[in-house]
Symmetry: C2
DNA sequence: TCAAAACAGTTTCCTAGTAAACAATTTCAT
DNA sequence: ATGAAATTGTTTACTAGGAAACTGTTTTGA
């Protein structure tokens, strides 16, 4: 993106952003946009969206997790989780079980195809997580994550 | 919780999040959600959304800014900016001007009503920015903003 | 015991934001 | 000059995600 991007950049640089360069809200939005762009560059070809990606990983780590707990953990609303799960079900990657001890709830687990899918793309997943961090040093990365957790009130209970 | 508590239920605290607690992507999403929640608590009563808030401020700071430059600065797509601007126009807060020197473009500025609106709610705006930061110390805040800028490739190395 | 309340998930409808095709204007290469 | 290409913004059609009302199930309390 040579000459034209340069011109755009110049125009953009002239904008007075003094309200925004110091706004945590705006900067987290920038970070979010960056994350999405990187995600689609790295993993878009598998037809997986960011929310789906973390949903799948979390079910894999926590077989039998209840759907509502999953939604709460990922900070999405139950209504949206219903849609995510149905899409995974249609693809044959996730299995829904209604347990006898509480027939209101839904317990989730990966199917064999779901586990195969993760395994098949594990390299790309790992590469993606690495590329997300590429612009920071390791020390900066540790600090950024700690501050993001503190800012968002995320109690990082268990150290692993 | 008598006899049937044999099956250990996976509650939120017990969820294995080892893929996510170290994912910058997930943590930026948490920060984004936190920011939105705080925004609606502080400013929701004025019928203003986060994107609208920064749009209005930026036009106020940069009278005559072109619509496309504004979109690029805020990292939203031109198609969406068209809708945001139309909403402001309908409310009588923003004015669109087609300049003679390039009749493809649109130049934006606040109306008197727009300036009055900002002035009227300036206290709430300031209070909101402060409450966004409340969970961090001043030093942590400076570090967080610096790292977010670096992570998201936000050039703006002009100190103000 | 049994109606009322609470809970877990779903459905319906709505908003924020994007992608792609489009129209109008300007620029660029002959 | 002039047709091709690039640009600026808009329209249309779509996806991610949320709010509120709803269904079915479990718990609670008199």
């Amino acid at each position: 993106m040579p000459a034209s991007a340069l011109k755009e950049q110049l125009t953009e640089d002239a904008v007075d952003m003094s309200d925004l360069t110091n706004s945590v809200g705006f900067l987290t939005r920038l970070a979010q946009v960056k994350t999405y762009e990187t995600f689609f560059e790295d993993l878009g070809e598998y037809g997986l969206r960011p929310g789906e990606y973390s949903t799948l990983l979390l079910i894999g780590r926590n077989p039998g997790i209840r759907q509502g707990v999953l939604a709460q953990t990922l900070r999405v609303k139950p209504a949206h989780m219903t849609k995510l799960i149905r899409a995974f079900e249609d693809r044959g990657h996730v299995e829904r079980t209604i347990p006898d001890h509480d027939r209101r709830s839904v317990e989730l687990s990966l199917t064999q195809a779901g586990r195969d899918f993760i395994e098949k793309h594990r390299t790309a997943f790992t590469k993606h997580e690495a590329s997300l961090k590429s612009s920071l040093t390791e020390a900066e990365l540790v600090t950024l994550k700690r501050l993001l957790r503190k800012y968002s009130g995320f109690a990082a209970e268990e150290e692993n």
